[in-house]
Subunit: 320 residues, 2 copies
Amino acid sequence: MRVGQIGERRLLQLIANYCSDRLGDDGAVMGATSPGWEMVITTDMLVQGVHFSPQTTSAYDVGWRAGTANLSDLAAMGADPWGITVALGIPADTPVRWVEQVYQGLADCAKQYDTAIVGGDTVRSPVPILSITAVGQVPSHQIIHRHQACIGDAILSTGPHGLSRAGLELLLHPHLQELLPPPNAQFLIQCHQRPHPRLDVVAKLRQIAANAPLRIAGMDTSDGLADAILQVCAASGVGAVIDLAAIAIHPDLPSLAGAEALNWVLYGGEDFELLLCLAPDLAQQLLSQLPTAQIIGEIVPCHQSNLSQLQVHQSFQHFI
Amino acid sequence: MRVGQIGERRLLQLIANYCSDRLGDDGAVMGATSPGWEMVITTDMLVQGVHFSPQTTSAYDVGWRAGTANLSDLAAMGADPWGITVALGIPADTPVRWVEQVYQGLADCAKQYDTAIVGGDTVRSPVPILSITAVGQVPSHQIIHRHQACIGDAILSTGPHGLSRAGLELLLHPHLQELLPPPNAQFLIQCHQRPHPRLDVVAKLRQIAANAPLRIAGMDTSDGLADAILQVCAASGVGAVIDLAAIAIHPDLPSLAGAEALNWVLYGGEDFELLLCLAPDLAQQLLSQLPTAQIIGEIVPCHQSNLSQLQVHQSFQHFI
């Protein structure tokens, strides 16, 4: 049996047998650091030709996006970043400048979020490969897990979706840029090349909660908004009623995607927003402080769910 | 300019510009966890065809060796392990069994040293690639750095060298196994396939020091004994007098290596012992508790050094 035949989900189930405790969140809780705080760790591997292409992603953006992906995983756990390590595999004929630009992008992203590259490894490999690990910390009673959504929770998206997908399309098919005013096209391309982790949401949640416990379920939407909703509901054993008509579609999306605009929003991926399930009053408080956030549904018992409308027909399956 | 033209050392110097503080140890100190303790993190990437070959390394051993390499880096900083993450890149036609065996080897290695795999990532890549990150902690006043060797320090090797190199030779040229009694050949092969991190040395040092500060310079010998001596001396701005005649050569090495036996000891690499520079009385205390340890020289001012005899003609240069 080959890994390509069993798919990623089954592979992850097999791997979980060799790992401690529960996997299944964007990061792993490693244990108490100082009293009242838990350490969180997360790792991502990015392979040229699989996760990025020289055609659409400059070396700087490879670094920036890798930083965002990992910091977003920390945000998805409610954690602040503490430091990043980077293992870089590159062929011997890689331009030195390419390597410097990758590190520059990663270092700039880290710096913007008050953290830094603290170490790593550099080795020879057949294609460029980046493996980033980020460590952070979160108050013990404010950890965001996927599995703790409760019936009655509001489902909140911290920002718009489909923009990264639109930016990618503009990069792959430059003639499409003529369909939009140049600043709008540039904005969408920027959304793809320089996404931001929502660590600001973590800061706001801490402010709202002060030192009180927070019970929030969530994850980031790096694999798509629909995927995040389905994963959180599956992990929590609940259903959801999603109001598809209420989900904001960026005004430039229909020009590019036509009838596919909603699909880009639901399945596009790589927007690095957070999908949070939380008590309605807390959701309202957060909403009042995050202009881009939106409540898109409600957690319900499984038999009242309308999640079947979110069949993930385009979600990213690494081994298919 | 290509990375293959500038070599690994220069590349690491360039990369250091984008990283926080000092790099140059086996791991990076990330900051205080609980009062009096520092967190240490280390990352290694292993690429099939570069760092391991299916011919000499089973999937289980790929996992085990990757675990050892990272835990050895923690030991080299004086740290206990806290947890390991693993990012695995594999082609879609990789047997599922291969993946399970890699994780089994890594999990077994982790378990033997009271730690565990806490998370990771699995992606598609053109060749199998493993990137491991290990996190540990060390008392703030007992961190082992490369740069703190002092004139008068004894130079201590925690165990024999050249055994991993001998084991590799036996695997690459099985007919050589006839030169040794079978258990001896198996022992050397085991040294190559299942090396052990010297976390026991860390425990002994803590025991000896109790809560007093320790000033020890050191690193692991994964890139060879000679390389470790040169690196520690360079980082500390000191020289050394090494007594080459005093360095133990395992009795089976000359049968396999002939006149090259000492070169295998000095430059073989991957024995995962520790090279420590410490006050002579402390070295004696450690020596009395570690049967395999040996004092092989003394730290001296640069002008009295005999390090030029250790020209690293066979050391591992990733990009050449």
